[in-house]
């Protein structure tokens, strides 16, 4: 059994991930469907845009939860990795690949569960069927998003291990989630220049998830009909570039991993 499969199985059977990545996010969908939808203009297109926006932003949060949970487990294995890269056939590329395969598998599964929850709740509430317009595209975006989240989280964790010390882990581990909230809500409520949204990987993911669910191009302000349209090839290209840079950085940092005691991370 390969390392990638073992990691994938460990991630898929992690109850904490299922709780924070699915159950907790389902709670937000309940609010979206039944509490915040009060002032929505009637009509299928408005309801579809609203549902797609909720799907995009909450799936973004769910994927962030996944990445930090998996990446922080590296702190328990610093000696194993430092030894493994020297004295076994394990290489940073192989290890990073195993993490990304696991993250991508979980990201696809999470996205499909999100689709099921969103479709069920919003369809029931609006009385019309709300299904993703392009499921294969959504799965592709989930794979890319899982790879990005894992690349980011792994890089951050390795910066802490190699340079800052484990005592800073608590500060760093909330960083991706906070950025997800900031950028995720920005595209829901604010009009910012399109180039900012292209540069922001969170908004690339959000836009692509929106487009895959709704079947219509994402706009600068999600769910509106008047703000400028975003180009999905640019979003895909920008996100792929982010993935390449972060995974490359994580691989280099892994090759220089420092053996540290998990006790260094204790706050008290």
């Amino acid at each position: 059994m390969t390392l990638a499969w073992r990691y994938t199985r460990a991630v898929l059977t992690n109850p904490a991930l299922w709780f924070w990545g699915v159950v907790f996010m389902a709670f937000w969908f309940v609010l979206g469907a039944y509490v915040f939808s009060g002032g929505l203009a009637p009509g299928h297109s408005a309801e579809s845009a609203y549902t797609s926006a909720w799907f995009a932003v909450i799936t973004l949060f769910s994927l962030t939860t996944l990445a930090m949970s998996v990446a922080s487990s590296i702190t328990y294995g610093t000696s194993a990795l430092a030894f493994g890269f020297r004295y076994t056939r394990l290489s940073p590329v192989r290890y990073t690949s195993a993490l990304i395969v696991a993250a991508a598998a979980m990201a696809v599964l999470l996205s499909l569960v999100m689709v099921a929850v969103v479709s069920g709740l919003f369809s029931t509430h609006f009385g019309s069927t709300m299904l993703p317009a392009n499921l294969p595209a959504m799965i592709g975006v989930a794979v890319l998003s899982g790879a990005f989240m894992m690349g980011l989280a792994t890089t951050l964790v390795l910066v802490v291990i190699n340079f800052l010390g484990l005592r800073h882990m608590n500060f760093i581990e909330f960083f991706p989630l906070i950025l997800s909230y900031i950028f995720g809500f920005t595209q829901l409520f604010l009009s910012v220049p399109a180039w900012v949204l292209y540069l922001s990987p969170w908004n690339d993911m959000e836009s692509l998830l929106y487009q895959a669910f709704s079947g219509t191009p994402a706009r600068v302000v999600l769910g509106t009909t008047t703000s400028p349209v975003l180009s999905w090839p640019i979003s895909v290209g920008a996100l792929a570039l982010w993935v390449a840079v972060l995974v490359g950085l994580a691989t280099v940092l892994l090759g220089r991993i420092r053996s540290v005691s998990i006790q260094e991370g204790r706050q008290i």
Binding site: S79, A82, F83, R89, S259
Partner: protein, 268 residues
């Protein structure tokens, strides 16, 4: 710098200081290991484990050099043939011991058949379904000892391999070690153990300093004395001043010393 073709471990003027510490854990230690076996004996806290960790790439080298199988430990990558019993090296992920064995067989590209037979022979079959951290201290130590021996190592670095291991299994493991063709560097604080390893080389370690080399079979003839002795086999500077190691005469015979921790106090 290159080392000889038979060199398995070459340590030259090695100094190790952990971040945040104001003292060196290992001070200018030098040792050359070919195709042979040595024991490093010293009290708790003398730097034995740190010396082995430095050779494994798990401790920061602040001065001098370490070469393993002819390669600088700082840059060595994917070099098979080094085994260790340090438990932290086996914490790549949380799996039962059976899964851990499969992972290491995969990472070394070698069969795990012999290791599984040893697990059986040592009466450890029950541990296969449990992760290392759920085992008793002795069981965990033995599993580490056997993992170290598995997968055809050329160099074995063993840290206190007999801690909490019962007498019968100690005997059996010593037999395995003596039959092994691997070079061995074994750390221990038990002088009595040396009686079972008469042909081995012997070093002492006090206050971070490596002193030797001697023959383990001469342990009954070695003495320590305060001050410089003209016919000393070796000497070192300690917190109580100069200390000499001599053969057949001196202030204190090592034979019968039950606690190395008080050795320097007794000759002070």
């Amino acid at each position: 710098m290159s080392t000889g073709p038979d060199s398995t471990l070459s340590v030259r003027d090695l100094t190790v200081r952990y971040p945040g510490s104001d003292t060196d854990a290992v001070v200018a230690a030098s040792l050359e290991l070919g195709r042979e076996k040595i024991a490093i004996v010293g009290p708790n806290g003398s730097g034995k484990t740190t010396l082995l960790k430095a050779a494994l790439g798990l401790a920061p080298v602040s001065g001098g050099s370490v070469h393993v199988l002819g390669h600088d430990v700082r840059t060595i990558r994917r070099q098979l043939g080094v085994g260790t019993n340090l438990e932290e090296v086996y914490r790549l992920m949380t799996v039962p011991v059976g899964g851990l064995i499969s992972i290491w067989a995969d990472l070394t590209g070698r069969s795990d058949e012999e290791l599984r037979r040893w697990i059986d022979d040592f009466g450890l079959k029950g541990v296969l379904e449990r992760p290392l951290f759920r085992l008793s201290t002795g069981q965990s130590k033995l599993v580490g000892d056997l993992l170290a021996m598995a997968f055809s190592p050329r160099l074995l670095l063993l840290d206190e391999p007999f801690d909490n291991v019962d007498f019968g299994r100690r005997r059996r493991y010593i037999d395995l070690l003596n039959r092994s063709s691997a070079s061995v560097a074994l750390s221990t604080h038990e002088l009595d153990l040396l009686l079972s390893l008469p042909e081995w080389g012997l070093y002492f370690m006090f206050e971070g300093q490596l002193i030797g080399r001697f023959r383990a079979g001469d342990i009954d003839r070695l003495h320590v004395s305060r001050g410089h002795q003209p016919d000393a086999l070796a000497g070192f500077h300690s917190s109580i001043g100069e200390v000499s190691v001599t053969l057949d005469h001196g202030d204190l015979p090592l034979k019968g010393v039950s606690n190395l921790g008080y050795l320097l106090d007794r000759i002070a």
